[in-house]
């Protein structure tokens, strides 16, 4: 959908996903790296597949001159300049917009390009802390936790793509570009769903709840969310309401079919069952036979059967579980690309299916384009005068 557009990506880790998403949507994305930057790590490769690589040192006059020549022909620039960075002046918005009034410049930085903490340094763990997400994960009486795999960069990159495209729709109507200023900290707030409403409306400060769900019973009972199974964990909740009713009665049927002891579950009327009214003793008693039953199941067995029975609940996947999930292969989610050395590399494919097609990944990570080729593609002659 975006094949009409060319994007230059000079962002750092916080912005990498933005260009990947635009590339998945069809844009021609050129990633710039200095000649000595090592790209042989999984994160770089995963977020730069579908982009082409241009080796250019933006800290050298030559590199800057080439950048300026490219600038006139690009639609979107993604960068991560913080105040005081050596490259800040060269990527100054007023300078670039004078050179190319149609340019959309997207700054993806930890805190945004202005404000009292714009110059603060932050990596994923500081951003997950600053955006509130860490306060909501971990054991209630323990330290706040982040997701082990960096998430703030995803939140920021996704918002950067939305910002770029919002500005692009405006440019298509009005012809002028603008500056998009993304704060990763503000983007991370999205991970906390509606938690802010509790503070704003009720003065309740939501906290982390570990592996159990609390706050559902007026008698203070906590409900188990993670259950050991034969080969890992399952995520399952004893819910009430219509959804819980179906899940709970299906589980009873399944346990009966397998000859699993039901214990106190025999006596529960799931139509009337209300998790709000249960005491901890009652919850423990009804969770016990379920826990025993789940110990006999593998994650895949649970996934297949729960899905067939339209029950709520999923296994807690590892990378291997995800890699072997038939749902993903049926939808051609995984895509192989040929690396420059001839080897195959398997990636998450384009993130959406558009008009019935998951657009194939067009470039292996690190597929290089040289300056002359790129300039020729852009129709920029070698004699063209450079701007100041």
């Amino acid at each position: 959908m975006l094949s009409a557009y060319r994007v230059l990506d000079v962002s750092n880790r916080v912005g990498w996903l933005a260009g990947r998403l635009l590339a998945d949507l069809g844009a021609d994305v050129i990633r710039i790296e200095a000649p000595d930057v090592n790209i042989e790590n999984s994160d770089w490769q995963a977020y730069h597949v579908n982009k082409r690589l241009l080796r250019l040192d933006l800290h050298m006059p030559d590199g800057q001159a080439t950048f300026d020549r490219l600038l006139a022909s690009i639609d979107v620039l993604i960068e991560s300049v913080q105040p005081g960075d050596a490259i800040a002046q060269h990527l100054d918005w007023n300078r670039l917009r004078t050179a190319n009034p149609r340019l959309i410049q997207v700054s993806v930085t930890p805190f945004g390009s202005k404000g009292p903490r714009a110059g603060w340094g932050a990596t994923d763990i500081e951003l997950m802390a600053a955006g509130g997400a860490m306060s909501l994960a971990g054991e209630p009486d323990g330290a706040p936790m982040r997701v082990t795999v960096p998430q703030s960069y995803g939140w920021a990159g996704a918002q950067a793509a939305i910002g770029a495209l919002t500005a692009l729709v405006h440019r298509t109507a009005n012809g002028v570009g603008q500056h998009v200023d993304v704060s990763a900290q503000a983007a991370v707030i999205l991970a906390s769903s509606h938690a802010a409403a509790f503070w704003d409306m009720e003065g309740i400060n939501p906290t982390r709840c570990g592996a159990y769900l609390t706050g559902r019973s007026i008698k203070g009972a906590r409900y188990r969310a993670f259950w050991p199974c034969a080969d890992g964990y399952l995520n399952f909740m004893v819910y009430g309401g219509p959804a819980g009713r179906r899940t709970n009665t299906q589980l009873m049927e399944w346990m009966r079919e397998r000859g699993a002891p039901l214990g106190v579950l025999e006596r529960i009327d799931w139509i009337r069952f209300d998790p709000k009214l249960a005491t901890q003793e009652e919850v423990d008693a009804l969770e016990e036979p379920i826990a025993q039953f789940f110990l006999t199941l593998t994650k895949r067995e649970f996934l297949d059967e729960a899905s067939r029975r339209e029950m709520l609940g999923y296994p807690v996947s590892t990378m291997a579980d995800i890699a072997s999930d038939p749902q993903l292969s049926a939808r051609d989610f995984w895509q192989d690309v040929v690396r420059p050395d001839g080897s195959l590399q398997r990636h998450c494919g384009s993130f959406a299916v558009i008009d019935g097609v998951r657009a194939p990944l067009r470039h292996a990570p690190g597929e290089e384009v040289d300056v002359a080729t790129l300039l020729a593609e852009l129709g920029i002659g070698c004699t063209e005068r450079q701007f100041a």
Partner: protein, 406 residues
């Protein structure tokens, strides 16, 4: 709406969505000027109105829910009975009017209502329609129902949170839904831009599951490449120490990470322990990783005598990565978030003043805004169907008598 022309001014959106994954897409478009019509019915209001707290004064009610309010500001709300021909008729008129249709029902529900893409495209060839659901529109488990909170386990996030010797951890709310809504918004905007240039519509099939995997794409590639499984590891990073949250005197926590020996040198100075810099147990990153526990104890002793905000400012002044762990309450007075005006208070018709989240990005020329708190159920029926879609007063009354707005 302010006098400034907004980026998405004139963009028309119909949202047949509920809960988070659909409505959050519409919210992001509304913030930058799109006219977004949220469709519900009186018999089946958005579940976020009724099913989850918080409620105004703790009392549930259709217009009292904070959950609905936070994802539906700046929109119009209409009610249409989609089991009634008159209601479906108006839904089709709404689709004909729209540039973008958002739906996050289970697959085939829209088709069964005769409002699927095949119908929509005949009514409106340029329409960009996104269908967002757990598993996507196709595949062996397409019809599996599911909540985003649990899908976050299937997509790896819960298993990647916690200690290696403990259980997985819950993430707050339907974590993965907001990844999907973000990626979904990018996709509809790309479709909209193409429509504006070429007139062509688009059908977008977005699986919330697959969207989530984009946030762990590096770990999945690593698994395919080397067979190595990324596992939960509390707050540690494989190559960095220190890299953790430390308790402070004021009851808050402080995150610190040191990515170079220079940074650790500065930290040691602030701790008043410059000798650590030459201690063989801590002098290199490998040594610090090997003695991470001892290092944590030393930093924890120091942090326990500090207030988190002052300590973070002191560390940042010396170019050491640090930030207080903001609780949700803290997000309302964080100086950087205040500077960006992330929270904008608007008057809600039933709740009163309410804080609405603005946007993670600012646009220089078309700044966007929260134009109003979330609408009451069906508040805009007359405005949308008469003013925007052009029904006469008589036609509107006729539809009303047929039960279209129930």
């Amino acid at each position: 709406m302010s006098a400034i022309s907004q980026a998405l001014a004139g963009v028309k959106v119909a949202e047949f969505g509920a809960y988070a994954a659909g409505p959050h897409i519409g919210k992001m478009l509304a913030t930058f000027g799109a006219t977004v019509v949220h469709v519900e019915s009186r018999s089946r209001p958005d579940g976020f109105r009724t099913e989850y707290p918080p409620f105004k004064d703790g009392k549930p009610g259709l217009d009292r829910g904070g959950c609905f309010a936070i994802f539906n500001d700046s929109k119009r709300a209409v009610t249409l009975d989609l089991k009634n021909d008159a209601g479906v008729n108006l839904a089709r008129r709404l689709i004909s009017w729209s540039d973008i249709v958002i739906e996050n029902m289970r697959p085939e529900v829209m088709s069964r209502l005769n409002l699927g893409y095949d119908v929509a495209r005949k009514l409106n060839p340029g329409v960009v329609m996104i269908s967002s659901c757990n598993m996507g529109q196709t595949g062996p488990r397409a019809h599996t129902p599911g909540f985003g909170s649990q899908l976050s386990a299937l997509a790896g996030f819960c298993g990647l949170t916690g200690s290696s010797d403990g259980p997985p951890q819950l993430l707050y709310g339907p974590y993965i839904d907001f990844i999907a809504s973000s990626l979904g918004a990018a996709a509809v905007l790309a479709g909209l831009d193409r429509q504006r240039r070429t007139g062509q519509g688009a059908r977008i099939d977005l699986a919330q599951y697959e969207s989530g995997l984009m946030f762990i794409a590096g770990s999945l590639l690593e698994y395919y490449t080397s067979g190595a499984e990324t596992e939960r590891a509390r707050n540690s990073d494989p190559h960095v120490a220190p890299h953790d949250a430390f308790p402070c005197r004021d009851g808050r926590w402080l995150v610190i990470s040191c990515w170079s020996d220079r940074e650790f040198h500065q930290l040691a100075k602030i701790l008043g322990r410059s000798e650590l810099d030459e201690d063989p147990n801590f002098v290199t990153v490998d040594a610090r990783k090997a003695n991470e526990k001892a290092l944590s104890t030393i930093i924890g002793e120091w942090s326990s005598s500090q207030d988190a905000s002052e300590a973070a400012a002191q560390l940042q002044a010396m170019r050491v990565h640090a930030y207080p762990v903001n609780t949700i309450a803290d997000l309302f007075h964080d100086p950087q978030l205040l500077y960006r005006r992330i929270w904008r208070r608007r008057r809600h018709g039933a709740i009163g003043d309410i804080a609405c989240y603005f946007s993670a990005f600012d646009l220089s020329d078309t700044p966007g805004d929260v134009t109003g708190a979330a609408p009451l159920l069906g508040a805009d029926n007359e405005y949308v169907f008469c003013e925007l879609l052009g029904l006469s007063g008589e036609q509107y009354a006729n539809y009303q008598s047929l039960g279209a707005f129930e």
